[in-house]
Amino acid sequence: MIYLLIVFLPLFGAIIAGFLGLYHRDRAAELVTVSALLLSLLLSVVTFANVAIGGVSETVNLGRWISSGSFVANWSLRFDTLTAVMLIVVTGVSSMVHIYSIGYMSHDSARARFMSYLSLFTFAMLMLVTADNLVQMFFGWEGVGVASYLLIGFWYKKDSAHAAAMKAFVVNRVGDFGFALGILAVYAMFGSVEFDVIFAQSSVIAAADISFLSYQLPALEVAGILLFIGAMGKSAQLGLHTWLPDAMEGPTPVSALIHAATMVTAGVFMICRLSPMLEYAPFALDVITVVGALTAIFAATIGMTQFDIKRVIAYSTCSQLGYMFFAAGVSAYPAAMFHLTTHAFFKALLFLGAGSVIHAMSDEQDLRNMGGIWKKVPVTYVMMWIGSLALAGFPFFAGYYSKDMILEAAYAADSAVGGMAFWLGCLAAFLTAFYSWRLLIMTFHGAPRASSKVMAHVHESPRVMTLPLLILAIGAVFSGWLGYELFVGHDMKQFWGSSIFILPTNLAMENAHHVPTWVKLLPIVLATSGVALAVLFYGYLTSMPARIAALFRPVYLLFFNKWYFDELYDAIFVRPAVRIGKYLWQRGDKDTIDGFGPDGISAFVYRLSGVCSRVQTGFVFHYAFVMLIGVVVLITWYYFRFEGV
């Protein structure tokens, strides 16, 4: 019962809020959704204690969903440690975001609709993390996609907002294309889509081949990579990341909840969930590692150059997700989940802090128009500091434990891809610290660059907004320290139980605790130098960034224009699709099919009858002439015929 309530309370809240919205009862909608979420959070904590700490996994079967022949997908909720961790993250961040939104959206006319969407999202996310089979996971997966679509396009009158919403959905669909094929591949091999069956048979199927697009390929590798394509879409990994920065068009609480803490981590969760299968797919894991590592560094390079406060944080999210993926790729799933959890707190904190800044600055988002406001928004300022310290991985903040763990695991994996991930991850750590402090300094310090009208209006946010910040800040400070032993330390094996499986031969996680000292120190050194450089550039030598940008102009432009991914995709996918569509329509349907088909035939018949009717001129001499010719022909024919005989 508790389990059901956790998942369905948010849905209940969403439905009630939706109806209340029709009658403009915004306050009531806020109350309903927030209390539903808080209750759900409370129950999640209870569940976490039972399941994760107490070690009692449970599955609640709700009945059949799709069943045809041997294809069976049930509605079934699975509660093990992996789920329990996600429950805390999702309901925790979501309830904070719900509360924060009361303040942030207070000037909006459709608050009930907003709260309803938020709760709907939370429901879909909970369905995703409690899924007991791949198809139900796909339900949650697409459900969060729709909620994200609705929320990005919440201000639907803005062209950029609904463009971004659509882009997010369609790019995610590209990933889901892979996910769907992955489900099919899994079903083809295992004859089931249920996790228990898949996991139990993975070691047996590992040696099997599958015929995919006329190639005989190792079955689990194919399934693993296809499913990972789905994860790439949802978690904005290199290649399918283009929607995430644009998604910042949504209201800031949405960015915090969906595009930082929860939905985008669904891909990481999926990979960890599938660990018993992926462990037997080493090549797929290598792919995951490489993509993750490349994303980590790629997104960081862009983050350095952006001026929109939310976009900087968005690229940072993208980069951090890369860390989580390469951790999972080297079989350090616990480290990935650990970073997922700590990241949820500090990234939500950063986003909500950014929201607080935007709120204070009369909806200004451009870093170039900020500066010099730290005295006016002291709470937000401190919160942003805490978030940045945690993100950069300074000792005793949350990110310190989890990010270092990932880098150490990558090093300890002792493989080519692991090594690559380690070095790229270290470089990204340096860049992370750099852009974080660039953001801090440009936002809060220096001379004010906003108009005096905006500056006069700068104010600290109301308590309904700062309180959630405070709670998240506690998480950002302590979650690493508190979770360390459980997630990745001595109690790791007992904590995760059977929810995460690592082959005994994959030692990254074991050896991560015994890496050389320089490996442990390197991230901190890099982070400190990143901060130092940012302080130097943006605090003192303020002309330096522009000069360096001018010096390395091509590189700068590449980073600033996001490696031209949008332009590239536009040129090779979007515009050709429409052009081909037009071509097929005009040339294919109209000219060819209709031209030779109905229109052509009817035109032909029409012409033919025209010819026939023209013969009947009505002039007697015409008929007489034709008759004469006919007689001549007949006679000739007879003559020659008999002549021949």
Binding site: L22, R64, W65, I66, S67, S68, G69, S70, F71, V135, F138, F139, W141, E142, G143, V146, Y149, G153, Y156, K157, D159, H162, A163, A165, M166, F169, V170, R173, V174, D176, F177, A180, L181, I183, L184, A185, Y187, A188, S211, F212, L213, S214, A577, V578, I580, G581, K582, L584, W585, G588, D589, K590, I593, D594, G597, P598, S602
Partner: protein, 501 residues
């Protein structure tokens, strides 16, 4: 379940009885129109309620036909009056009886002239549709199958848009061409088997070479109806010119006649040919999915866009049927029912705003969501159902078809799955251009909010789409035994594809 009265015949011919009522109405034009609407709505609603026992009295555990009725018609010829339903036809009967009253309700205001004749056409259409689905005699089937054309031809040709005559003739010629070939095949089959009784023909073994020709003859007819690429070009024109209600029935029920025909005739009667031609069908279907999705992207007319999307969705249906797997066929069936509900609702969505602005051009709209928020919710929901969102009926069919398709070949599944991406692209783009953005057209600003009548059309469709999305077993259980029976028949004829299921 045995019933003492011929319920299936009553359901089939009740609308025709309604036509008699309509003919009796007297009065000036205004009263005539008002009363015709009411009578038509009452009759079709009553028919729907009469058809409910078919659903609740249906025993989904038994093989074969239920509610069977047999009567001597042409004694001694092997041709008779034989009707009945199984798990494959029952859902279609209900779909027809449900959509007809909704379609009549949808034309309440939009049709202002010759209302009585319009309503007569719709009621006749309903009888023909239901009759076609319940026929268990091939000749009866053919008569109903062809007769469906006539009222629809009139509905498009008389109450349609500006190019209605062109569209009506295109529609008629295309479908007639196919059916002539089918008629030839029916005669050949009659000569070969000596009967036109469908269950008997299903038992009959046609020679291999004959199967090939028969299959192609039926294909010509069914492919046009589905419609499959490349004989789909009548559909966009017909939809664009048809009145809203006509489009609802056309997309909702008439397109399903082809798919139903494949399941009732092609597969069970010509199994060898079906297996032989499956790759051809797959190719045509995949082209349909990709080609028409791309074409849909380029459309500037709302109805045309949705019409092309129908072709793409029906591509999934034909793929599913010819995978000859349980999941594929169940998925195809499910997709047909789901598409019946969703596309009817989508065409109605277009009709709702067409009634207000009298244009189907997408560019004339923009920002409608601000003026009609409740309408925006329904349209959004149906749009998402159309792109196959899990939790709506659209997903279940697509997923099962893909499962079956992978079994046939991963290539088929791969190409079919691209429909997921393309479908999302054109539908979301449509929604975005119509509903979102700032209002640029002043007429949009003046659009009335949704009315109760429109609400009452959307609501049942939405409830069903959601129900079938969350609890698809309501439908899958009904079909399972019949599909199993069909597949057993196929494996009895020694098809190799059926080795594993």
């Amino acid at each position: 379940m045995s019933v003492s009265w011929p319920i299936l015949s009553i359901v089939t011919f009740m609308p025709l009885a309604g036509v008699l009522f309509l003919l009796m109405i007297r009065g000036d034009e205004h009263i005539l129109a008002r009363n015709s609407r009411r009578v038509a709505l009452w009759v079709s609603s009553f028919t729907f309620f009469l058809s409910l026992p078919l659903l609740f009295g249906f025993d989904s555990t038994i093989i074969g036909y239920q509610f069977e009725e047999k009567a001597v018609w042409l004694a001694g010829t092997g041709i008779g009056y034989h009707i009945g339903i199984d798990g494959i036809s029952m859902p279609f009967v209900l779909l027809s009886t449900l959509l007809t009253p909704l379609a009549i309700l949808a034309s309440w205001k939009a049709i202002a002239h010759r209302v009585r004749e319009y309503m007569i056409a719709f009621l006749v259409l309903e009888t023909m549709m239901v009759g076609m689905f319940v026929s268990l005699d091939m000749l009866m089937f053919y008569l109903f199958f062809e007769a469906v054309l006539i009222p629809m031809f009139l509905i498009i040709g008389i109450w349609g848009g500006s190019r209605r005559v062109y569209a009506a003739f295109k529609f008629f010629l295309y479908t007639l061409l196919g059916s002539v070939l089918m008629l030839v095949c029916i005669l050949v089959m009659y000569v070969d088997a000596g009967t036109t009784d469908i269950p008997a023909l299903t038992e009959h073994q046609f020679a291999g070479s004959m199967q090939t020709w028969l299959f192609l003859g039926f294909l010509a007819s069914f492919a046009v109806k589905v419609p499959m690429w490349p004989v789909h070009t009548w559909l966009p024109d017909a939809h664009v010119q048809a009145p809203t209600a006509g489009s609802m029935i056309l997309a909702g029920v008439l397109l399903k006649m082809g798919g139903y025909g494949f399941l009732r005739f092609s597969l069970p009667m010509f199994p060898l040919a079906s297996e032989f031609f499956a790759p051809l069908i797959f190719t045509m279907s995949i082209i349909a999915v990709i080609y028409t999705s791309l074409v849909a992207l380029a459309q500037t007319d709302m109805k045309k866009l949705i019409a092309y999307s129908s072709v793409a969705h029906m591509g999934f249906v034909t793929i599913g049927i010819f995978t000859m797997t349980e999941q594929g066929i169940a998925g195809a069936m499910f997709q047909m029912i789901s598409h019946g509900l969703v596309s009817a609702a989508l065409f109605f969505s277009v009709g709702v705003i067409y009634d207000r602005l009298h244009t189907r051009e997408i560019s004339a709209y923009g920002g409608v969501a601000a003026v009609m928020p409740r309408y925006a919710v329904f349209f959004m929901f149906m749009m998402l159902a159309s792109v196959g969102l899990p939790g709506t009926s659209g997903f279940v069919g697509e997923m099962l078809v893909l499962v079956g398709a992978w079994h046939a070949s991963s290539w088929v599944a791969f190409f079919a799955a691209t429909g997921l991406v393309l479908g999302a692209a054109y539908m979301l783009w449509l929604y975005r251009r119509v509903m979102f953005g700032a209002i640029i057209n002043d007429e949009v600003k003046a659009m009335e909010p949704m009315q109760m009548r429109e609400f009452s059309i959307f609501l049942p469709l939405s409830v069903l789409v959601l129900l079938f999305g969350v609890y698809p077993m309501a439908l899958l259980d009904v079909m399972a035994v019949s599909i199993q029976f069909l597949l057993d028949g196929l494996s009895a004829s020694g098809l190799s594809v059926l080795a594993a299921r």
